[in-house]
Amino acid sequence: MTALLKGDGLTLVRGGRLLFEGLDLALAPGNALHVTGSNGSGKSSLIRLVAGLLKPAAGRIERADAALADEGLALDRELPIRRSLAFWRGPYLADALTAFDLDRLDQVPVRLLSTGQAKRARLARVMASGAPLWLLDEPLNGLDSQGAEQLAAVISAHRDKGGAVLAASHLPLAGDWRTLELGR
């Protein structure tokens, strides 16, 4: 099967500082890669690089369609959560709302969501998108144990369907992940 993500010799410099050099990445369908490293080691930057939001100083990235969950909420605060998420045109929105236990909140305006509920909304957008490659930046931040279990279930279902996940987290992630430690 063809790779969903392939990065060759990636080098990233930010603010005059070399974050990593000559990094190779490959994710095939069903793969999951957990990027670890200390604060400031470039985990989030690697996610943004793969998303195409940063340009590498050297190297090449090829990837399938991707969906990103990072610190940006990117939802209209005044709208109910379902309408706000619907702007992003995810074909699996209903499933995603159910999976993250948001369907009973779907008429609540986004501005009233708690930190953990807002995190679930970001993850629900990724799931709803139907994109084969998921890019998750600190997916466990703000989630309670139930939310973390829901995320693990959703990720494992996504991998079973032939999707791939690249997650940056300083916390251990449930399931079977390859790890990549930055800043070594």
Partner: protein
């Protein structure tokens, strides 16, 4: 996605403060007779120019809400991940912004033109000149908003940037308001067309450059 983004911009504009630039426009038009004095002939002569100054200052007001909130909240990043080009984002923002800015300003031009003492023919000319000019003002506002997004004191910087770029538009627009015989309207249309055509590319490049 472009259609959805335009609809979102319109909805947010109307939900937010679409009336604010219009109220500001009317306020400036109201102040002109107080500042100039009650001489009706003098007022009628400078009235067209005064409307353009009012429209230009009104165009500055919404700049801070056009791009910066979406950059800070990650909306621009998520749009990029859907595969939408930054130039398309800029174009959609311009269309959405004009829809909540242009028509309201044109309606407000009717009372404003009486405040500055324009007669019926001059009102007609100023409506045409502003109808041609407001898309360019909206395009400039979005381009300047993208250029200053993420910078400290972006609001004041945006004013400094927008005013000089708008000079050709104001020259020809005010001339077209004052005199229907000259070719000022054609030149204004040319300046507006250039601005509207170029602004999405400026905004797109600025959005890309603002990513850190």
């Amino acid at each position: 996605m472009i259609g959805a983004l335009i609809a979102r911009e319109v909805r947010r504009g109307l939900h937010g403060a679409a009336w604010l630039p219009v109220a500001f426009f009317l306020l400036v038009a109201t102040i002109v007779p107080f500042a100039i004095g009650p001489d009706a002939r003098l007022l009628a002569r400078i009235g067209g120019g005064a409307l353009w100054i009012a429209a230009l200052t009104a165009a500055l007001l919404p700049i801070e809400r056009l791009i910066e909130p979406d950059r800070a909240d990650g909306v621009l990043d998520q749009l990029a991940l859907t595969g939408m080009a930054e130039e398309a984002i800029g174009a959609a923002k311009i269309i959405g912004h004009w829809l909540t800015f242009g028509p309201l300003l044109l309606i407000a031009t009717v009372p404003a033109s009486f405040l500055v003492g324009l007669d019926g023919a001059a009102l007609g000319r100023s409506l045409i000149a502003l109808a041609v000019g407001t898309p360019a003002l909206a395009a400039l506002a979005v381009a300047v908003a993208a250029l200053t997004t993420g910078l400290p004191r972006a609001g004041s910087l945006a004013g400094l940037l927008l005013m000089p770029i708008a000079v050709p538009l104001v020259i020809f627009g005010a001339a077209a308001t004052g005199d229907g015989e000259s070719s000022a309207l054609k030149l204004e249309a040319a300046a507006a067309l250039l601005t509207v055509a170029g602004a999405p590319f400026v905004a797109g490049a600025a959005i890309r450059a603002s990513r850190t």
